[in-house]
């Protein structure tokens, strides 16, 4: 998959964690869908314009400009959310704090009771506005699987309900 939702060097791409890569792929897919939908809408509009004998008018150029403007806006929102979510999942540099896996984006403290752990992870995922992305990330979150134990499936069901 080619990534143009945000600019990344090959080295930066290699350094992404599994969760970050998942976030990147999801955002890129959404941008690709936007572009594809816009192309289809443009093709339909072009057919209508041709049928109406308006091919030599300024309508096609203006429609393209409108669609491109919308793609740019939606892409910038996706990119903005992606950058923020990825920053919450930054891998730690060598020699970072012990105790807890902070690459998950939330506090991982095995000394906490399960209910507290549940609340921490739940609050983290509900902060992700995009419902689809929220579910995808949670499914890919192996840290949460180990951290929550039996509570993992409970939280999964809750997130699923709120994703509908």
């Amino acid at each position: 998959m080619e990534f143009d939702i945000i600019t990344l060097t090959p080295e930066e791409l290699k350094a992404l964690s599994a969760v970050q890569m998942k976030m990147l792929r999801t955002a890129q897919q959404k941008k690709n869908v936007l572009r594809r939908t816009a192309d289809r809408e443009y093709a339909t509009f072009k057919n209508i314009v041709m049928t109406n004998g308006m091919l030599e008018s300024t309508l096609l150029a203006e429609k393209r400009a409108e669609l491109d403007g919308e793609i740019e806006y939606q892409s910038s929102v996706l990119a903005d959310n992606l950058i923020y979510n990825m920053s919450l999942n930054e891998p730690l540099p060598d020699g970072g704090d012990d105790g807890g896996d902070e690459s998950s984006g939330y506090i991982v403290d095995y000394s906490l009771p399960y209910t507290d752990r549940y609340i921490i992870v739940r609050d983290f995922y509900f902060a992700i506005e995009d419902r689809e992305e929220r579910m995808e990330l949670y499914k890919a979150d192996d840290v949460a699987r180990a951290y929550l134990g039996a509570y993992y499936s409970t939280l999964y069901n809750v997130l699923e309900v709120y994703s509908k």
Binding site: G53, M54, S57, T58, L59, E62, K63
Partner: protein, 397 residues
């Protein structure tokens, strides 16, 4: 010797300020003098919103409140590319004098200038937008809203190139709910209401021979216009030739106006000179003896020329000419009786060499005029209910 009689219905009539209807000659409209004329008049217009008359002469724009007395307003105006629109701005009516990329917004209280987004030479307000013809005569452009807002976007301003197959665009006007672009060699019908996404150019069989600019006018839901070969009518689907009494006499056509359900064409006709031809929707036509340099319509049809300002009124004097009366034979004959059923009219009968004139005719006169062909001219103000001529036709020469 045999006696032959011809009636009004047998004759080829050329009516001036009257119409031939049901075998009778009835008075129609004639030009009534209202005031002094002016030289060099190119155009006239009336703004319904501001109730102002505008006249364009010798590079100067004049305005008037009554259509008669004009005062100068603007100078250095090129009348050929100037046109007038009625627009509303902030709820107030203005007369917009559009010339190229700029417009002067005029009211009775004053005027100001605005800039347009395109350089246009002819235009019309339609569904809240200004639709105009660009200077190259190849594109129709439209504003986003009104005269001033030309923002180029999908539901805003834009343009369409109409192609060269019917020649350049010489004018644009409303035609029912559509617009019609008058081209050099035909018409293009444009559906341009709602948002630009729904605009369309309709496919029509409307190629014609060369159309004379400024002669296209909508009358009674049909578009009348002149080509080099005659008057045509477009009903929304087809273009048909319109035949009328003066067809063979028309030498030149200049411009036209639509008034009270009839088409008024400023023209030059053989034997009459410069005049205005009135064509009614029922097919009747008559000339009005007035030289028009410009016309505009308010409550009346105003005619402006060098000789004066005129309006069309009823009750004036009319005349009807019947030419080439030979009683169906090429030999010499003597017209012995002319019966004109009218309360009061003048009769002139001419054999090509000299004429006899009878005034105050109310019934029969005895011309006793000999010749091969005769021309009869009846003048008056009262209807002519019938006309008969009787001649004694000899055998041989």
């Amino acid at each position: 010797m045999t006696e032959k009689t011809v009636k009004l219905s047998d004759l080829s009539l050329l009516p001036v300020s009257c119409r031939v209807s049901g075998g009778k000659v009835l008075p129609a409209l004639s030009a009534v003098y209202r005031g002094e004329g002016r030289r060099g008049i190119k155009k006239a217009a009336y703004s319904k919103g501001t109730k102002l008359y505008l006249l364009f002469a010798d590079g100067v724009t004049y305005f008037s409140g009554d259509g008669l007395g004009f005062v100068p307003l603007l100078e250095n105006q090129v009348a050929e590319n100037l046109f007038v629109l009625d627009v509303l701005k902030d709820g107030k009516p203005y007369a917009a004098l559009v010339m190229g990329r700029s417009a002067t917004m005029l009211t009775a209280e004053g005027f100001g200038g605005v800039e347009l987004g395109e350089n246009i030479v002819s235009g019309v307000m339609h569904c809240g937008r200004l639709f105009g013809v660009t200077q190259d005569g190849l594109r129709v452009c439209w504003s986003k809203c009104g005269v001033e807002d030309w923002t180029q976007e999908l539901n805003g301003g834009g343009s369409i190139y109409l192609g060269l197959d019917r020649g350049e665009i010489t004018g644009i006007m409303e035609f029912g709910e559509n617009l019609v672009a008058v081209r050099k060699f035909g018409l293009s019908l444009l559906a341009m209401y709602g948002s630009p996404e729904n605009f369309s150019v309709k496919l029509t069989d409307t190629d014609t021979d060369e159309i004379i600019p400024s002669t296209a006018k909508v009358v009674g839901g049909k578009l009348y216009f002149c080509t080099k070969t005659g008057v045509c009518v477009f009903d929304g689907e087809f273009v048909t030739r319109f035949t009328h009494r003066f067809e063979s006499l028309l030498e030149e056509c200049y411009f036209a106006e639509s008034y009270a359900g009839a088409y008024y064409l400023s023209c030059k006709a053989t034997g009459f000179g410069k005049a205005v031809l009135c064509i009614e929707q029922n097919g009747e036509s008559y000339l009005i003896d007035v030289k028009a340099d410009a016309m505009c319509v308010s409550d009346k049809l105003y005619i402006y020329g060098e000789e004066g300002v005129y309006t069309l009124e009823s009750g004036g004097e009319f005349s009807v000419v019947a030419d080439g009366i030979d009683f169906g034979t090429g030999v010499n004959k003597t017209v012995t009786l002319l019966y004109a059923d009218s309360e009061n009219c003048s009769v002139e009968i001419d054999n090509g060499q000299f004429a006899r004139v009878f005034a105050g005719v109310n019934g029969a006169v005895k011309p006793r005029l000999r010749g091969k062909k005769f021309t009869v001219k009846i003048s008056g103000r009262e209807p002519l209910k019938s006309l008969t001529l009787t001649a004694e036709v000899g055998i041989g020469i």
